[in-house]
């Protein structure tokens, strides 16, 4: 029985591939920033104030600080490449200050990556 010819996906351009890689890095930075914020707010701070155990805050404070700087830098680098509306930039920026906010970025960033993979190369 003859097999139907397999449709070949056009390979993304190097520019689109680089943008997709940058968005993937931003997603990772967003996830790490959100996770460290949750650990800081919901684990380390209660340990300090309820159980008189300040070491957790002393450890998690700098870890979250580094994660925040990495996320902020990734955000500036990503949006400086163009293709982002002011609303999207504001949303991504605000997410860093709200617990669980970083996790809410996942959908937007997934859609932006998918748009770069589209054959037309159109950006969302």
């Amino acid at each position: 029985m003859p097999q139907a010819p397999r449709m070949q996906q056009p390979a993304p351009s190097p520019a689109a591939a680089e943008e997709r890689a940058q968005i993937r890095r931003l997603r990772l930075a967003s996830f790490v920033e959100a996770t460290t914020l949750l650990v800081l707010v919901f684990v380390a701070v209660p340990l300090k104030h309820l159980f008189d155990y300040p070491l957790a805050v002393r450890l998690m404070g700098p870890v979250h600080g580094a994660a925040f700087v990495a996320y902020a830098w990734s955000l500036v680098t990503t949006v400086s490449g163009g293709g982002w509306s002011r609303g999207e930039i504001a949303r991504l920026g605000l997410a860093a200050f709200i617990p669980f906010g970083g996790f809410l970025n996942a959908g937007l960033l997934r859609r932006k990556r998918a748009a770069l993979a589209a054959p037309t190369g159109a950006r969302a």
Partner: protein, 135 residues
Amino acid sequence: MPYLWLKAVHVAAVLLFIGGLFAQTFALAAAQRGDAATTAPLARWDRLVTVPAMLLVWVTGATIAVEAGWFTSPWLWAKLAFVLALTGLHGIQSGKLRRLRGGDLPSSPISVLRVAGFIAAAIASIAVLVVAKPF
């Protein structure tokens, strides 16, 4: 980590970050003149050295400031403003370089001497603030 070791790592990271930032500025000027492909090795250097050095600058700097109790000193906040500006500049230039390598034309070309001058002035100000601690 003992203070002197922390300071040594911080200064080494600052030197690597600033070297990478100057290189990035001149590479951006070259890319704006249509030589974007030659900046690919710099992008790799940036990812492997300059960005980790920048993160190390922030982590070691914050640790030193906390240990020494400097967050109540105005000079530290003035210094932080310059560091924040240099970090933001690096992020903006990274995005512009990526865009130029992708074949886009420069929308608003940077003046390389102006940007390099800003970096030099910021570094000089940071050095004065952190060594002399004038206020």
